[in-house]
């Protein structure tokens, strides 16, 4: 039982970061109907900037703001400079361009910074509170939890309660109609990219202190897990991203703890296959999937 509680708590904190990243993929899918394979590489660029800022100013918060800003800026540049020029008949060309972008960004980081991992400190203690003899969440985990929930609630309000959110959703689902109604669709798409890249940068920033250190590849696995989660939950569903993230986070930790690390990717694959066979559009798929 102790082990179970411990593993569960560990899985939750891991799952939250995955969920946050998955959420960024959902945002971009909703705004632009594209899977941004370059999300991890973009986020890592932002994290490199963030820790340069931390190094210069000594303030984690300045770094956090720098990460968000760099993410947004990158999102805007890449959408305006690249993605906009891609033929939009199907989501395919956009996905392929994004894969090309991953290579460009990772190679660029590799050439500039070399292959070494840079050590990165968490802003809060990572020692967990011990409840009834069982170590559970640490202050840093709580920080991640608070940030993740704040972002989720914020985005929920934005999308469901604000005019901007309504316009974002409208221009993604029915661009032509939105345009007729006076929504500036291209601007909405850019905003979606900026928002998404910022959230991804935040997730990567939260993840890196718990890993080996910062390198061009630090967020690769996070992307794979988050993509799995987004697909699992349904690409259109922020709630799906959150729940999916928690489920996958706990699953990975449980399987690692009870069966061994080698089984974790197999368990994730099995879960994904099972879900997609029953619900091809993910758990929280919209009722009628649009063809094409």
């Amino acid at each position: 039982m102790e082990t179970f509680v411990f593993l569960f708590a560990t899985g939750v904190s891991r799952g939250l970061v995955i969920a946050l990243f998955a959420l960024s993929l959902v945002i971009i899918w909703r705004a632009a109907r594209i899977i941004n394979f370059a999300q991890a590489a973009m986020a890592i660029v932002a994290v490199f900037v963030a820790f340069t800022v931390v190094g210069l100013t000594g303030s984690y918060w300045a770094g956090l703001i720098a990460a968000l800003a760099t993410g947004a800026l990158l999102g805007a540049i890449i959408e305006r400079g690249l993605i906009r020029r891609v033929p939009h008949v199907t989501p395919l060309p956009g996905m392929i361009v994004a894969i090309g972008l991953v290579m460009v960004l990772q190679a660029g980081l590799g050439i500039l910074f070399g292959p070494e991992h840079r050590p990165v400190q968490a802003p809060f203690s990572e020692s967990p509170f011990v409840v009834a003899g069982i170590p559970v969440l640490s202050p840093y985990d709580l920080f991640v939890l608070v940030v993740a929930l704040a972002v989720l609630v914020g985005l929920g309000l934005l999308f469901n309660r604000s005019t901007l959110g309504l316009q974002l959703r409208a221009s993604a689902v029915a661009p032509e109609v939105s345009r007729l109604l006076g929504v500036r669709v291209p601007r909405m798409v850019t905003i979606g990219w900026m928002l998404s890249a910022s959230v991804a940068a935040l997730a990567a920033l939260l993840l890196v202190p718990t890993e080996l250190g910062l390198s061009a590849h630090s967020a690769d696995i996070l992307f794979v897990q988050a993509f799995t989660v987004a697909v699992l939950g349904g690409l259109d569903s922020p709630i799906g991203a959150l729940l999916g993230g928690l489920i996958v986070g706990v699953l990975i930790t449980m399987v690692t703890g009870y069966l061994g690390a080698g089984y974790a990717p197999l368990a994730v694959l099995a879960l994904l296959t099972a879900v997609l066979l029953i619900r091809p559009g993910g758990i929280f798929a919209l009722k009628e999937a649009r063809t094409a």
């Binding site: 411990f6 070494e116 990572e126 967990p128 640490s138 250190g213 390198s215 061994g260 690390a261 080698g262």
Partner: protein
């Protein structure tokens, strides 16, 4: 083997023909290169050797500095007259730790660059994939950079020699040291889920008995989160934890345990116990490393003259790169190859250099002389225990020689530095 006819490149309109033309163009260009004498890679004033190391990709972080150090030491030797008047040309090819790349770069080195020998090819999965190929082509495959037992099959692969202390040896030595130094320890192991982890476990079990290991946990390099494993070791009451980990995961394990307020004794392998590298990984958390116990077979200690020499060479020929265990390792590889080449004589051939190594006359620069033999293609069978104390990692008096998995305490007998590290035999 190679076909050296020339032909007019067909001006094809189809794409395939175009591709062929590209290939052909480069083929004819290569034919112009000077033909050497009978021994590949050896001319009057050079010996060309090559290797495959990960310089890009996720594995590059831990290993890219090795080949740089090796290259630097060869430059140092070349500036001091080379070996028997020949400069050593060391060609390093990136395989990104992917066996398919290894296969192609090694073929390129052998068939295109015409190397004399492959030296210090890095990694178990990568190097295994070219073992047969090197054997079929009679290329000396010297000082493989991995402690896998695969390299020690003199009957099947007479040209292949391992460099690292094999993982079984390291595991057995650590296990024996725990028995020698602790009262009633609960011995556990955290291992990488591959050959490295399994061989270390085999070594440990050889020393402490099959039921002497209370808990075994595995990690995979694809998942940089070992909280679940460390938690399991904590709840199993482990207090003497052996780490069959690479440096990054040693740091993760120590960091994670500290977060869980778990303070066992840690015992790391030579591949995962390098103090400067671990300090880099841990940053501000470096004090956790105090008391870390590890093993080594090279003179990776500030006390040693070799260490001093390596520091100088690193300043002068390696742009003052961070000095870590990888530097000592890379330069020692360069030295031991140079020594082997020197002992092979004025006219080295591929058969002769293999014979030299198998004869056991190569001494190396380790904590004891090398013990390569006809029937044993591992030369580093003795490892010494090192401890981190007051931010310095240094050897203590325990050393173990491991024969057939049986550890036996021995006296270290470090090979002294002679002739400023330029072999002259």
């Amino acid at each position: 083997m190679g076909n050296t006819q020339k032909a007019a490149a067909p001006r094809g309109r189809r794409v395939t023909a175009l591709t062929a033309a590209v290939l052909l163009g480069s083929a004819t260009a290569a034919c112009g290169a000077a033909e050497t004498e009978n021994t590949p890679g050896v001319t009057d004033d050079t010996v060309t050797i090559g290797t495959h190391h990960p310089l890009t990709g996720p594995a590059a972080g831990g290993f890219a500095s090795i080949s740089a150090a090796t290259s630097a030491y060869f430059e140092y030797i070349n500036d001091n007259g080379g070996i028997h008047g020949r400069d050593i040309e060391y060609i390093v090819r990136d395989d990104a730790y992917s066996p398919s790349n290894t296969q192609s770069v090694v073929r390129e080195l052998v068939q295109q660059e015409d190397i004399f020998a492959l030296v210090n090819g890095l990694g178990t999965p990568t190097h295994s994939s070219v073992l047969e190929y090197l054997d079929q082509n009679d290329v000396p495959d010297l000082f493989v950079s991995s402690g896998s037992l695969v390299w020690n099959q003199p009957d099947e692969f007479p040209n292949t020699f391992g460099y690292n202390a094999d993982y079984v040896t390291e595991g057995a030595a650590l296990g024996q040291y725990i028995l020698d130094s602790e009262d009633d320890p609960t011995i556990c192991l955290l291992g990488q889920d591959d050959d490295f982890g399994e061989s270390m476990l085999e070594g440990v079990e050889g020393a402490v008995g099959d039921d002497g290991v209370a808990e075994v946990q595995w990690y995979s390099t694809a998942n940089e989160d070992v909280t679940a494993q460390i938690g399991a070791m904590q709840s199993a009451g482990c207090d003497a934890n052996i780490l069959a980990t690479i440096n990054g995961f040693t740091a993760l394990a120590l960091g994670t345990a500290a977060q869980l307020q778990y303070e066992p004794n840690w015992y790391a392998s030579s591949s995962g116990g390098d103090y400067p590298t671990l300090v880099d990984h841990l940053g501000d958390a470096a004090p956790l490393l105090e008391g870390l116990i590890s093993v080594n077979y090279l003179q990776n200690t500030p006390e040693s003259d070799w260490y001093e020499l390596f520091e100088d060479v690193n300043e002068e020929y390696n742009g003052g790169a961070a000095f870590t265990g990888n530097t000592t390792y890379g330069m020692s590889v360069a030295y031991v190859f140079a020594e082997t080449l020197a002992r092979t004589g004025e006219e080295p051939t591929r058969e002769a250099i293999v014979e030299t190594l198998a004869s056991g006359e190569v001494v190396g620069n380790g904590i004891v002389p090398l013990t390569y033999a006809e029937d044993d293609h591992f030369g580093n069978r003795t490892v010494q225990i090192a401890v981190v104390e007051d931010e310095v990692q240094d050897f203590i008096d325990y050393a173990y020689q491991v024969t057939d998995g049986e550890p036996e305490a021995v006296e270290p007998d470090p090979v002294p530095l002679e002739n400023e590290g330029i072999p002259s035999h």
